[in-house]
Every structure is written in C-alpha cells, then in structure tokens.
C-alpha cells in the first residue's frame, strides 16, 4: 500500500468509526497513523491493534470498534468474543418526551397578569395532570431550581486560620523571617461536594413523570457537572450524564432521549440496579454518594433480587433516597412489591410529582 492509500484508508475508517459512535478525534487518528507506521501495514491484526489502542478510550468503545473494523476492512476482527455482541436497538431520534396527557393544541399565549399566583398553583400541581401549555410553563420554572449540593470533608487541605499546624507553610514563613518561627500557620480539610447519583425510571408506568425527572436531573447536572451522575433505568441501564451536560434543557433532553433505548418499556428494577452496581456503583460511582432512585417501584422481575441489590447499594452509598411520584397522592401506601422490597434500605422516601416536591427533594439531597 502506498503511503497515501494508508492515510486515505485510515481517514475513511475513522469516519466509519465516528458514525458507529466512537469519538475518533483528529489527534487520535494521527496517533493511529503513527502506530500503523510503526507496525506492519499489511497485517490486518497489526492494523486492528494500532487502531484500537489509539482510537478507543473506554471499554464501551471496544464493541463498536470491533463492529466498525469488521464492516470497514471486511472479515472478522481478531478479538475473541466471549459473549455475543449485544443487539443495539435502533432508536427513534424524536424522543418521546412529550408523552402524557396532551389535551388538545391550546397554544394560546399565557396571560402575564396573575402570572405569579398561577406559578404558585402550578408549582403544586401533579405534572401528570398538566396540559401541554402548563407543561411549557413548568419547564420555564425548572430553570429556577437551585439545587444545593451535599458536602463532605476531603483529603485536600486549604490554608486556614484554625486547624492543624501546616509545617511546610510555617517553616517557609520562618525562612522569610530570618529563620525565626514567629507564627504558626494552619490548614484544615477543604469541603467538597458529595457525589449525587440519580437513577431515573423511564418505564411505561413512569412516563408522565420521566420528562420532569430528566429536567430535574438536567438542573442538577448543570449545577455540579463533576459531582452528578444520571442513569436511566427500565429494562436496561443507560448513562445519560454526558447528554445532560448540554446547556440548553431541550437539547439535553432530546440528546438523552435518543440515548435511551428502553423508553416507556417495562421495568426490571432488580436486574438493572444490579447492572448499575456491577458496572459503576461498586467501582466507585455509588461509594459515599447520595443515590436517588426515582421510580414508582413497579417491579416485573424478582423482588428478592431488588431487596438484595438495594441492601448492597445501601452498604456502598452515603444515603439512599427514593422518589416516588405516587407518594404525593392522598392515601398513598407503599404496597407494591418493589417498594416493599426497597423500603428497609432507604434513608428517605419522598414524593416527586410536582415542582414543589422537587424543591423539597433538593433539600433532602443536601441534608441526608
């Protein structure tokens, strides 16, 4: 292969890879060209590894890479697969975020007079019972949520007037004063935001609330991008943190909507929670975090598994909060099997059906 052919081939492959969902950035592609040059260009295995080592950045990329490699270069990729590649569902790009009870197309401009009191009423309305216009209004109000972050002590220290003696700074100061220790310098632990993990149920029974919950998650992610993680749960686990980091709420929701393959499907809470703990939670995402599960607790699977996984979550997390939209209804009793299984492992059990309930939730998250 002439050098130009190699460059063209690699660039074409990078394009295929980007379509497959691996962010093969130009500097990575450049690295691949160098890597291919260092190996044998005509050896398919060498090209496979040159690309995989330089273009991929996480285990999630590997399956996509293998598929793209096979599609582009033809034939099998050299990696031995232990499990069959999971079927990636083709998702509709128009995210069904408008699910719910749209009652006619009443697009009349809302009247400005009396807006404040209308806002007040809207804040307490169950989001499942809103009209489309009211829903739009409520979305505007979501921007006003100010989630306070729970804090924890960290290993990093900062200079302070009190606290333990900071030997290095004390002596550095003494050196400035001609070797005389004239004043003790102190330091103390710097508080850091505690991680908050939101697990949002997007199954069919939760669809009237999923939009609001994701908007709540968006506000939380925007407020503390580094200390907030959001996953959707249903029949499978999807991490949507990255999508929700977009500034514009509607764009962020559309992006996460297209990332969620199991929208309005069933619920297998126990299994999905286990997937979360195996893949993320146990490794660190749930450790010491405030984990908020937003679900109605309708479990189609085995409630024993859910109880077991909730207990496991409880041991890892700093606090476990359950948000159930139905709890806001008068006379609600947590009778579903899933709720019964989860209750012993909860630190807080709150409602999540209206904006006022979400405001309360931010308070619970920062206090537990």
């Amino acid at each position: 292969m002439a050098e130009r052919d190699v460059v063209a081939t690699v660039l074409g492959f990078a394009r295929t890879l980007r379509v497959a969902g691996v962010a093969a950035s130009p500097d990575r592609v450049e690295a691949m060209l160098v890597a291919v040059g260092a190996l044998d260009v005509l050896d398919a295995t060498a090209v496979y590894w040159a690309g995989r080592l330089t273009l991929c950045g996480s285990p999630d990329d590997l399956d996509r890479y293998d598929a793209a490699f096979a599609a582009y270069f033809g034939g099998e990729s050299p990696r031995m697969r232990s499990a069959p590649a999971d079927q990636r569902q083709v998702m509709a790009l128009s995210a069904p975020l408008e699910s719910g009870t749209g009652e006619g197309e009443d697009d009349e401009p809302s009247d400005v007079a009396g807006q404040a009191s209308a806002d007040e009423v809207l804040r307490h309305r169950d989001v499942a019972e809103l009209t489309v216009a009211e829903r739009d209004e409520l979305r505007r109000l979501f921007a006003l949520l100010r989630p306070a972050a729970p804090m924890r002590a960290s290993r990093r220290r900062r200079p302070s007037a009190h606290g333990s003696v900071h030997a290095a700074r004390t002596i550095r100061r003494a050196l400035r004063d001609g070797g005389e220790v004239s004043r003790l310098m102190h330091r103390r632990a710097r508080p850091r935001p505690r991680r908050v993990v939101l697990l949002i149920d997007v199954s069919g029974s939760m669809s009237p609330y999923a939009d609001s919950l994701l908007r709540f998650a968006h506000v939380a992610v925007r407020a503390r991008p580094a200390a907030t993680e959001v996953f959707t749960i249903g029949t499978r686990l999807t991490r949507v943190t990255r999508e929700l980091r977009l500034r514009d709420p509607d764009k962020a929701l559309a992006a996460s909507g297209s990332a969620i393959p199991d929208w309005s499907g069933g619920t297998r809470l126990g299994e999905v929670l286990k997937a979360f703990l195996d893949r993320w939670g146990q490794r660190g995402t749930a450790r010491g975090a405030v984990v908020v599960v937003c679900s109605d607790g309708w479990e189609r699977g085995d409630t024993d598994l859910l109880a077991e996984q909730m207990a496991r979550l409880r041991r890892l997390a700093h606090a476990v909060v359950w948000v159930n939209p139905h709890k806001g209804r008068a006379g609600y009793e947590p009778l579903t099997g899933g709720m019964q299984a989860a209750l012993p492992s909860l630190d807080a059990f709150v409602a999540g059906h209206s904006l006022a309930a979400f405001e309360e939730l931010t308070g619970v998250i920062s206090r537990v």
Partner: protein, 311 residues
Amino acid sequence: MLGDVSETTLPAEGLSPPTPADFSSPDALADALRDTGYLPDEGLATAAYLALVMRRPLFLEGEAGVGKTALARALAEVTARPIYRLQCYEGLEASQALYDWDFGRQLLHLRAAEAAHATTDTDQLEASLYDRRFLLARPLLQALEDSPSVLLVDEVDRADDEFEAFLLEVLSDFTISIPELGTIRAEVPPLVVLTSNRTREVHDALKRRCLYHWLEHPDFEREVAILRTRLPEVTERLAREVATATAKLRTLDLVKPPGVAEAMDWAAALHALGARELDPDTAARTLGAVLKYREDTDRVHSLARGALFGG
C-alpha cells in the same frame, strides 16, 4: 497488585541497557517479557511495543488483578530501566508527586550559617538555601531525572480532577519547572504506564494523550502458563485445576470475579497446605484466598461443591 511493593529496581550492573530499537517487533518484546515471567497476549504486547516506539504513555484499564501493575514492572525489567511508582489517592498534591523542599534541613542550614556568621551575603545565602540537595524528589521528578526510566502511575482513577489536570501538564512535555532551580527535562521521555480500575471515568483529555488498552482475564492456557511461571513449585495438575475452577468462578456472576492475582494466591495457599490437586474439601477451606465478599462465598458454598471443584 502482583509482587511486592518495591519502589525502585535498579538495573543490574554490567548490563548495557537495551534501547527500544532492540525490540524490532511486538513479538520480540513479547518474547522478552515472557523471559521475565510476564506472559502478554498479542494486544498487550502490541500496546507495550507502541508505547516504547511512539513514546506515548500507556493507559491500562481492567478488572483488579489482571496484571496491570505487573506489566510495568516487567517492562522495567526487559528495558533494564529503573521504575518509579506513584500510587494515586484523593488529595494527592504536587508536593507528594513532584518535589518538595526539605524545610527542616533548610532551617538547620540557615541556623548553621548564622552561627558561622556567614549571613552577610544574602544572595549567596538564599542561593545556598535553594540548592538541589534540599530538594526532595518525588516519583514524577525522579523518573524525569533518572532518564530513561519507567514511570508507573498506579490507580490514576483514585486521584481527583485537580491531580489529573496537573498530570496532563507533566505528561504532555515531560518537563518540570521549579521556580527556584529552573526547568528539569527528561533526556528521553520515561515509559509511562498509567493503570486504572475504572472506579471513576478518567478525563478524556488525559486518555487522548495515551494508548488505551483494556486488559481482560487471560484465557485458560495462558492462565495455566502464568501460574506455572510465577509459582514453579505448584504442580501442573494443581495449576490446571485452579485455572479451571477460577474460570468457572468467573462465570458465576459474582460481586468480585477473581483475577489472575487471586488465582495465584489460591494456588499458593493450596500449595502451602500441601495440596497436589484441588479436592472439594481443601478448596472450601482456602476459598478466602480467591473470594473476597461474603455474598460470593455463600453463593459458592450453596452450589454443589462437586460441580465446581470436581476432579
């Protein structure tokens, strides 16, 4: 992870350090690694080879106990370079990773100068205070000064964002500037191996500068070979049975599936008990070497023992 935590392994006297050119291909490097007792697969050998040739850091991710740290040590051995290890943790600061001034000794020096009435020339006094001998080199600086070397940044996922940003700066040009002394540059960039257990997603900016390799559990034959190489005293039969049982344990969907490190611990424990083969009774007694969660132990005990450890 594997082996003990020795900070520095100096090259043996009289050996001329091989340069990357000595390894003409990934296969040659794989052979050299095999001679040290580390058995890489094709992907890992290619990754290590490219890291040497392209002078790019190697970012290794994978389950705990698959041999990430061991690879760095093996690479140091085959290249006859000293290895410097930086264990990451939350709150790791530049003064622990890079350098620090030995304030106590500086103070003593100042007092000694005062006693000798040598404090009249303040410029000279100051220069003598910030002398190289009062500088405590930490792993990153050591690795740059002792070039060429191998730098192992272990469990980078345990460090926080601040440290990651700082590491990015050092890894991008392999220079460290010390205001009082000047800039220190590595003659040859160290071979950098970063490991991560994936407790946290490491920032993409750091990964982009590295070769990324995801390490998997070895296949059966390779695991047997690793056990036989690392623990020559263990019988072939015991090694095969331990590898078989470990492979079965990995399919059980445990909280912590055992890695190669656990398989080695297990084989060593069985050998210490004088076992020459894996029988259900000895296996049950030594299960603590391979399973580290009560749930997992319960689960395995509840299974038919014969199904798992049958001869």
